[in-house]
């Protein structure tokens, strides 16, 4: 348990659900996506909306894949959508669908069945 803040057991975080966690007065959203777990600040960088009340979705993009003209959703790229204006942020690095704003993300890890939160640089 080095350098991490224990925020609960792995089972406390149901798959694909945003859980609101308070750590030392800072409110975070924590969510599992399969075997991955993410943490982000509960404030949209646009107007401060509570992102914990937002929605998790797959990233949608319109890149052409191998000559196939279609729309693409990516299971492995989860995003959170803000409940107010539906701006969307990549859970991995907080990047927005269009650059300019970035969601603050934190590193969360699983160790011995516990979920650890790491403040500071990712």
């Amino acid at each position: 348990m080095k350098n991490g803040i224990d925020i609960g057991a792995w089972e406390d975080f149901p798959d694909k659900e945003i859980v609101r966690v308070e750590v030392g007065g800072t409110v975070l959203g924590v969510c599992r996506w399969g075997e991955l777990i993410y943490a982000f600040r509960n404030a949209c960088p646009h107007q401060g909306a509570p992102l914990c009340s937002g929605f998790m979705q797959q990233n949608v993009s319109a890149e052409m894949v191998a000559g196939d003209v279609s729309m693409l959703t990516r299971e492995e790229v989860p995003v959170v959508l803000c409940p107010w204006h539906r701006w969307e942020f990549n859970l991995e690095d907080g990047s927005a669908a269009w650059p300019g704003f970035k969601m603050r993300t934190y590193r969360a890890t699983r160790e011995s069945g516990r979920v650890l939160l790491h403040f500071g640089r990712k």
């Binding site: 659900e17 009340s53 929605f55 319109a62 890149e63 729309m71 701006w87």
Partner: protein, 420 residues
């Protein structure tokens, strides 16, 4: 603002000149015998009667005249209806090397109630432009007028009249189907234009006839010409937004559009809103994969005419400052005089109102690049890389329409979006 406002000889392309017929016989002579018989011949009955007017009336006229004075060769002819006289006036300064003819009130015709007549008239007007105008002066270039209330016939006409090397674009003015131009009903027109490598020209004012289905200003029928003169850009914003959001530019990536007759001052405000809304609404239109303003910069050019003129001595500076808020307008704007309209812009006036560094691109380079000039090879169609209209499943978790969450004071609040 610029000090040296003299443009050198042949250094200007005029992207919008309005041409008209002296008598409708000039146009109907290009129609079949059946149509000629049905439409009749003016002045064969007492009092000038004898023919059906091919031109719908317009309830909107400018008191004091819709046109510059002395733009006709004869007192009974409409302005800019004599090719030689018009050429003399448009090219007399020596500065203009090419002028694009875009019809005058003839642009009402695609919306006349009789769709078959609209098709026949559009064909005749294109042939009349080629025979009567393009043949009279090789500095004139034309736009293919299309009967857009029947988009398949319109596409056919683009493929027919667009074969003429001097037809450098396709004109959409009257809105024949009463739908924003990005509506899928109009897509056959864009397919044909992309195939022929012809830019689509949206021209304000097509909706000013009494037969109009759409209003010439947004929000309802205006009462006066003064209202139209100020707000003609309002339906154009609808069309520009529609082309981008409905995915026309993803479906036909090589399509180019030219917007004429609405000035440029409206651009910053529209895109401030559209760009920022797109961030939150893009999942409704996932095929719109770039900022709307990026599509605008890549696929649109705009006529300077009628240039926005703010009051006051520093008016020109303030207009340019407003345009700089959007940025890069010098790469989008093409000089157009609008001749012989009452608000025709002169080269020297526009040159004095914009920075000197804009001159070359505005007066020539942008239009040179945009229209399909003779001798320029028709560019190949670019295939789409995304399925416009497809909505993929994104696995939104939880019911987005009805959910509860805890508030800071511990109450449970049910969040129900408006309209539920």
């Amino acid at each position: 603002m610029s000090e040296n406002n003299d443009r050198g000889p042949g250094s200007v392309i005029d992207a919008t000149v309005h041409h008209h017929w002296a008598s409708q016989l000039e146009v109907t002579d290009h129609m079949s015998a059946g149509w000629r018989e049905q439409l009749g011949i003016p002045n064969t009955l007492p009092g000038g009667a004898g023919a059906m007017h091919i031109l719908p009336a317009t309830p909107y006229r400018r008191p004091g005249g819709d046109y510059l004075p002395e733009t006709t060769s004869s007192p009974t002819a409409p302005p800019a209806s004599d090719p030689e006289f018009t050429a003399k006036q448009v090219f007399e300064s020596g500065q203009v090397s090419r002028a694009i003819l875009g019809f005058d009130r003839g642009m009402f015709i695609p919306s006349v109630p009789n769709a078959y007549r609209a098709v026949a008239l559009a064909r005749a007007m294109n042939d009349w432009t080629i025979d009567h105008w393009l043949a009279s002066d090789d500095r004139f270039y034309g736009l293919v007028m299309v009967p857009n209330q029947t988009p398949l016939e319109a596409a056919e006409e683009i493929r027919r009249a667009g074969l003429n090397d001097r037809m450098v674009g396709v004109l959409l003015a009257a809105n024949g189907l009463n739908k924003p131009f990005g509506h899928p009903a109009y897509h056959p027109i864009y397919e044909a234009a992309a195939e022929m490598d012809l830019p689509i020209v949206f021209h304000a004012g097509g909706d000013q006839s009494s037969d109009t289905l759409t209003h010439p200003t947004a929000g309802g029928m205006p009462s006066t010409y003064a209202e139209i003169a100020a707000l003609s850009y309002s339906p154009m914003m609808t069309h520009v937004q529609s082309m981008i959001v409905q995915g026309v530019l993803e479906k036909y990536p090589s399509l180019r559009i030219f917007v004429s007759g609405v000035g440029v001052g409206w651009i910053p405000g529209l895109f401030f809103r559209l760009d920022v809304n797109w961030r939150g609404l893009r999942r409704e239109v996932p095929w719109v994969r770039k900022l709307p303003s990026e599509y605008f910069r890549e696929s649109f050019r705009i006529s300077s005419w009628p240039f926005d003129k703010a009051p006051g001595e520093d008016g020109p500076e303030r207009v340019v400052r407003a345009l700089e808020a959007f940025g890069g307008v010098d790469k989008l704007m093409c000089f157009a005089s609008g001749f012989p309209s009452w608000n025709t812009d002169s080269i020297s006036d526009i040159a004095s109102r914009i920075p000197a560094s804009w001159h070359n691109s505005v007066f020539k380079d942008n239009a040179e690049e945009w229209f399909r000039w003779p001798g320029k090879e028709r560019a190949a169609v670019v295939e789409p890389t995304v399925e416009v209209g497809e909505i993929p499943e994104t696995g939104e978790l939880g019911d987005p329409n009805r959910r509860t969450y805890e508030t800071e004071d511990g109450r449970e609040v049910e969040w129900v979006p408006a309209g539920d």
